[in-house]
Amino acid sequence: MNPRRPSSGPPAVLRLALVLLLLFLNACGREGPDTDRLAFQAFGTLVDVTLHPAGAHDLQQVESALREDLEAMHASWHAWEPGPLTDTNRLLARGTGFDAPASVLPLIEHARELEQRTDGLFNPALGRLIAAWGFHQDEPAGPPPSAATLTALLADPPRIADIDYDGERLRGTHPALQLDFGGLAKGLAVARSLELLAELGVEHAIVNAGGDLMTLGQPAGRPWRIGVRDPQGAGVLAAIALGADEALFSSGDYERGYEWDGKRIHHVIDPRTGKPSEGIASATVLHADPALADAAATTLMIAGPEEWPAYAHRLGVDHALLVLADGSVELTPAMENRVDFRRDLEYRLREPGPDTDREPR
């Protein structure tokens, strides 16, 4: 008979089996996403919210709070449906002083700074021009403005600087001034949504409004993984890793638009020509400030293939990715470090600032 050691606990084999079982359960725990998702309609678009970790949040409460807040901002900032912004436009056109509406003032202040930094290339005072192209309606439609109309609209175009503001009251000094914050409002709305999530106790989330997004915190041990849709084909162009509190905004000719005489008329209007911008199919900007990211994406697209690095420099944008009209891709070195392209392509690195061309990669 073999001698046996006395033991007060379970046999070693059983303990080993228990350890292996725990490892097994841990391995199984990796199945499935570690996030919850919400999708709802607000701010005139589909809002898609990712929350981490899964199962830790009151999804109904989050959706309800975000939707209510976004809808309030949408109503306040709408460029053509009656509300605070259309009231503001009416009073600005009148040329007499009036109390600055609290809901619209942050947009005007942001726009004033951005217009200065871009020397007017970002100009939200050109609402009449945008409307003339048929974009002040839910479904954009032609006809485009005639050459005579464009000439008249561009003869003496208004700017945000044509609004006098003394800290309390606003006064318009240009009768054609009409505000349209289409290139800025979503950035501010997303920023406000993240503040609201933080107030609700959410620590890790992404708010994605119609494709433009910002992160709140980040999951432990990994970055947020964002897929970038290919603007000129099916599927995913690239994956971008985002850290905490980073915004990713794009402007593209595939967004709002319509066909006219076999030509695509898109919504990003170049204030220099009065026509849809040319040369860049999409501009993507990564920045900590979502309002700046939103406006910068529009500005870089308008600036065009030659000048976008100069405007990125003016706006303090280090991370930018551009798909040109011919399908070629240009990006900043900082963005190169964040991007994982999902198909073989040549791209060109360009440093923000003037005259910074480099060889293709």
Binding site: A17, R30, A39, G227, I240
Partner: protein
Amino acid sequence: MPGLRWGDAVMVALAVALVSSAFGVAYMPRGGATELVVTQAGATPRHYPLDVARTIGIDGAAGVTTIRIEPGRARCLDSPGSQRICEGAGWLERPGDMAVSLPNRLVLQVQGPGADFDSMHF
């Protein structure tokens, strides 16, 4: 081995095999998508296994989004809207791949072990 009976040895072998296979599934290069999740504004997310080829229609605010499901993948075949964003996403086959229909307020995402993307930028 002293003190180890044949039943113990069988148990150890089984446990080692079980854990090895679990790690194989969880930590080795990931497999394909196994499920399509359709999230629609105002509705509970719907789950469709990616096992048998079929075509489904989802009613939305602007019309019907038609989705083709095949083993391991799904795609938006037709959806309201002039921008064709949903169709442009192509086949969704890697866990986390996503398509969006703005007019119908839909997010289509395929899931499986180890999702590629947390959100989709477009």
